[in-house]
């Protein structure tokens, strides 16, 4: 077995030092009823070539997003990631290190996290960012529970434009903690409707921009209404590249901003691993969940970085912790930071502008198809369109034409009654000819 260094001689010698006759002696505490003398009914070990064959065959059964015209978004976006990013994250020292609990020999990871936190705070226009969460949806749930700790109120209002999976995750987790989660009716362009639902028991309102239908919203008025009632505004974003073009949550008055950071530096990966961005105003930092990296000095007075404010965390506070989270999405944060360092402000703004321009072209082409209505009026790189029939069936039909047309809204929320709505995204990876092919095939299919 290529991964196991001990030889039979080593094992015999070591048992001798231990003073055990056989390896079974070391498992003596296992109840006899639970001891298995034979390997389980699973395949036996396999060489690299054999494993590679099996997995390559499985990968071959999938259609990669880059294999042809592709328009899926809905919380996960296909972007180009520079080759440098993947090289850096495969450096042994980053890939195979643990949580930086020994800061003297983990300054690489820690300085990256400090750079990451600074970048994320800048993107969202807020004061502090943590070292990342599992993904955008769990960051959203954690933000709602943080609002409860800050306000000591139990009610949260989720907008009708919040990604249905984010709403479901938040309902599942925050409900368990005893929160009262009010989810507004699904709405394409009504983030401000949360204002009417704010009352004196409301801990927070959660809005999304661009929302699940792609609609971008200025949430300044929502922030004012929330603050007037003593509630917090949580702003969710599922497409982090949009920060390069749209006003930041902080600029519009958000108290907490969370986002899915996958778009920057990370591949689609069929939904994970992704990276949750979590930022807030400075005065709230002690109620934040998750790891934080901070600056300090060493015994010689040189600047260095450590994990800090850990008295909020589970390994110190146990059942009084702000969250049970025990990891961050470290390597994904590294990928995010390397990619964003390469982009810089200039590159990010240009990338965001290209994404927006591609979506304009997509909206123009699809809107020109007879029977199709573009529903999203203010968008970044994703639009919702209404089809003259069932969107899921149209996606299946267009797949026969070699086009992955997008995500039918019914797949995200079957109960919403929006079976004719399709979510379509375009990024810098979308070719103009892909858009033309999509519009032509759609026109043909509708005409049939």
């Amino acid at each position: 077995m290529r991964y196991l260094p001990l030889t039979p001689d080593d094992r015999a010698q070591m048992l001798g030092v231990i003073g055990a006759a056989t390896i079974d002696d070391l498992f003596a505490d296992v109840p006899a009823a639970a001891r298995k003398s034979e390997p389980f009914a699973l395949q036996h070990h396999a060489g690299e070539l054999e494993v590679e064959r099996e997995l390559s065959a499985l990968a071959g059964l999938n259609r990669a997003a880059g294999a042809g015209p592709f328009f899926c978004g809905a919380g996960a976006y296909r972007h180009h990631v520079p080759a440098t990013v993947d090289h850096i994250i495969q450096r042994s020292e980053f890939l195979t290190s643990y949580t930086p609990y020994q800061p003297e020999i983990a300054q690489g990871t820690l300085q990256v996290l400090f750079e990451f936190q600074t970048q994320v705070a800048a993107l969202t226009g807020l004061d502090v960012a943590n070292a990342s969460m599992y993904d955008g949806s769990t960051a959203c749930a954690e933000a709602v529970m943080m609002a409860r700790r800050v306000t000591r109120r139990k009610r949260a209002v989720l907008s009708g434009g919040l990604h249905p999976h984010y709403a479901a995750t938040t309902q599942t987790i925050a409900h368990a903690e005893g929160m009262d989660i009010v989810r507004q009716a699904v709405a394409l362009d009504a983030e401000a409707a949360v204002i009417d639902a704010i009352d004196s028991e409301t801990a927070c309102v959660v809005v999304q921009t661009p929302n699940v239908f792609g609609t971008a919203t200025d949430v300044t008025a929502i922030a004012e209404a929330a603050h007037a009632a003593g509630a917090l505004l949580i702003v969710v974003t599922t497409e982090a590249v949009s920060y390069g073009l749209l006003k930041s949550p902080g600029e519009m008055g958000a108290d907490i901003a969370v986002a899915e950071g996958q778009s920057i530096g990370n591949a689609l990966n069929f939904g994970g691993p992704y990276i949750g961005l979590f930022t807030c105003r400075e005065k709230l930092v002690r109620q934040m969940p998750g790891r934080l990296c901070g600056e300090t000095v060493d015994a010689e007075g040189r600047r260095g970085f450590v994990l800090t404010l850990s008295t909020r965390e589970q390994h110190i506070r146990r059942d009084k912790a702000t969250s049970n989270i025990c990891t961050n999405s470290g390597l994904c944060a590294l990928a995010f930071t390397v990619h964003l360092s390469l982009l810089g402000e200039t590159g990010l703004r240009q990338l965001a502008a290209i994404n927006h321009a591609k979506a304009q072209r997509l909206a123009g082409a699809l809107g020109a198809v007879t029977g199709v209505e573009v529903l999203t009026r203010r968008y970044f790189n994703e639009i919702a369109i209404r089809l003259p029939g069932d969107a899921a069936r149209m996606v299946e039909a267009l797949l026969e034409d070699g086009i992955v047309a997008g995500v039918p809204f019914s797949r995200l929320d079957p109960a919403a009654g929006l079976d004719d709505v399709l979510l379509c995204a375009a990024t810098e990876t979308t070719l103009d000819e892909d858009i033309d092919a999509f519009a032509q095939a759609l026109s043909r299919r509708i005409g049939q």
Binding site: I105, G108, F270, D298, T308
Partner: protein, 526 residues
């Protein structure tokens, strides 16, 4: 005539010790570069990507457009490469040496798994792509599930939890849903004093109050105390097995029986599954739910703190409450149950936006297939053998917390052997850095004074174990001989000396900020 020595290897006796006060002229330390933050370089306005021109305008967005500076510097590609490679050199890593963190299972990360996860069919696959285009991914999830269920002897698995603590949350939410379905919501969860901090934190997160169970002198759950604390309001117990003292809970079957008799469920923290994989099935021990850290037992890289993956296996009693989504076999191939309607009416909800950590599923499955049932059994045996070897070799100079009987995959020592030396567990750990090793887990579990928890894993050779043991023995002897400075000032040879964690917490500086009055141009505009 003197011998010409230029270009010849230097013998140790030729090495002149440097003056302790030696400093380089630039503040550098040889090839280990002092590396400024990206914000402190002249990177404002710079970019390391070449993008095509923009064909369009953002006029349609009106006031929504961001006009103020963001505050992001850029780096050209060579600068970025050098910056991050220089930073990488300040990290310890499993690829460099033994990484004996107890409870963390820092084993070798096979690169085949990295290669497989990067196949376009996996990496460039959208979670909401049409079902017909993701059959390979669903097949992989199905095969991974089969392996996890077979290895644990459990009938069901929820793949979506994204880490161990997220898996705990999933398990407790299933338990809560099961009790609620019976119209018997219960309020309390029992947790041993030796538990990981995530256990009580998770229980509290789900709205339960936590009661601690005492431990016996031999490091196991105190059955009498457990029996006394079980009652009609107890929803579950959370027990790690092998436990955090590195010991197998001998009475585990009785623990399960008592728990079930009280109408509660048995949640097992699977963090230490590496000790028993391929040899013992948690299902045979009476477990109702257990998370499996794919980043521990199944070797997906720790990545400097994540991402992990924490699938949860479930008993028949809990399976109906598993969260969406999951894979099912249908007439047209595999499909996903994604919503909590009809066939998933009892599902407790959703753990996250999509289907879990697919990138980790690919790596873990490649790892399992590489080892096979026979290799995984050998993994457990070698992991346990290595830990017992360390325990045996170090017991002469250090004090094992539980000297009687074998340990499992990790060896636990207390600090009684340091008494009177003036050296603490922390000092000893920091001195290990100077000898080229990452410290063991310290001060955990909380039930052992000054705990030092050493987990070597199965991927260490006997030679590396001996090198490690020799170093620790030499250090232990130095401590006992009164060589206190070696410990109090340690580390001396790491990229940094001991860092002031108190200062960091007292005056938190969590982001870079320009010095007042010298803001770089793009920020000064604000």
């Amino acid at each position: 005539m003197t011998m010409q020595t230029v270009g010849r290897p230097t013998r140790p006796e030729d090495v002149q010790p440097l003056d302790a006060g030696f400093t380089s002229l630039t503040g550098g330390r040889g090839l280990l570069q002092d590396e400024a933050l990206i914000f402190e370089r002249d990177g404002w306005g710079k970019t390391g990507v070449d993008l095509p021109p923009v064909e369009g305008s953002a006029d349609d967005l009106g006031d929504l457009v961001r006009t103020r500076p963001i505050g992001l510097p850029g780096l050209s590609e060579p600068e970025a490469m050098r910056h991050y490679v220089r930073l990488s050199q300040k990290n310890h890593a499993i690829d460099l040496a033994l990484y004996p963190l107890g409870s963390c299972t820092m084993k070798h990360n096979p690169r085949l798994n990295e290669k497989m996860a990067r196949l376009a069919g996996f990496a460039d696959l959208h979670p909401m792509a049409p079902l017909a285009t993701i059959q390979g991914a669903l097949t992989l999830m199905d095969r991974l599930s089969h392996w996890l269920k077979t290895l644990t002897g459990m009938p069901a698995v929820a793949l979506s939890p994204k880490a161990g603590a997220h898996g705990e949350l999933c398990g407790l939410l299933a338990i809560r849903a099961a009790h609620e379905a019976k119209g018997d919501p219960r309020r309390r969860v029992l947790v041993p004093t030796s538990a990981h901090g995530t256990n009580p934190a998770t229980a509290a997160f789900v709205g339960y109050s936590v009661t601690e169970i005492a431990q016996t002198d031999d490091g196991r759950v105190d059955l009498a105390d457990l029996a006394a604390k079980l009652g009609p309001d107890v929803a579950a117990i959370m027990v790690t097995n092998p436990n955090t003292c590195g010991l197998f809970e001998r009475d585990i079957i009785e623990i399960a029986r008592l728990t079930h008799e009280a109408g509660a469920y048995f949640y097992c923290d699977g963090a230490n599954f590496n000790a028993i994989v391929g040899r013992v099935r948690p299902g045979d021990l009476g477990v109702d739910a257990m998370h499996i850290n794919l980043h521990k037992t199944f070797s997906t890289p720790h990545g400097g703190g994540g991402p992990g993956a924490g699938p949860v296996v479930l008993s028949e009693a809990l399976a109906p409450f598993a969260p969406a989504p999951w894979v099912v076999h249908g007439p047209d191939g595999l499909t996903l149950v994604e919503e909590t309607v009809e066939e998933a009416a009892q599902a407790f909800g959703r753990m996250s936006a999509f289907h879990g950590q697919m990138g980790m599923f690919v790596r873990a499955y490649a790892y399992m297939r590489s080892h096979g049932a026979d290799g995984l059994r050998q993994v457990a045996e070698d992991a346990v053998l290595n830990a017992n070897y360390i325990k045996a070799r170090l017991s002469g100079v250090m004090t094992p917390a539980f000297p009687e009987g074998p340990c499992m995959h990790e060896a636990l020592f207390d600090d009684s052997w340091l008494e009177g030396t003036g050296v603490t567990t922390l000092d000893f750990a920091k001195a290990m850095i100077d000898e080229g090793f990452h410290p063991m887990t310290m001060y955990f579990p909380l039930v052992v004074h000054g705990a030092m928890l050493i987990e070597p894993t199965e991927t260490e050779s006997k030679q590396e174990l001996d090198r490690f043991c020799d170093a620790l023995i030499a250090l232990a002897e130095a401590a006992k001989a009164g060589d206190v400075d070696r410990f109090k000032g340690a580390p001396y040879l790491a990229p940094m000396r001991r860092l002031d964690e108190t200062l960091a917490a007292r005056k938190p500086r969590l982001t870079w900020k320009p010095e007042p009055g010298v803001a770089p141009a793009p920020l000064a505009a604000e």
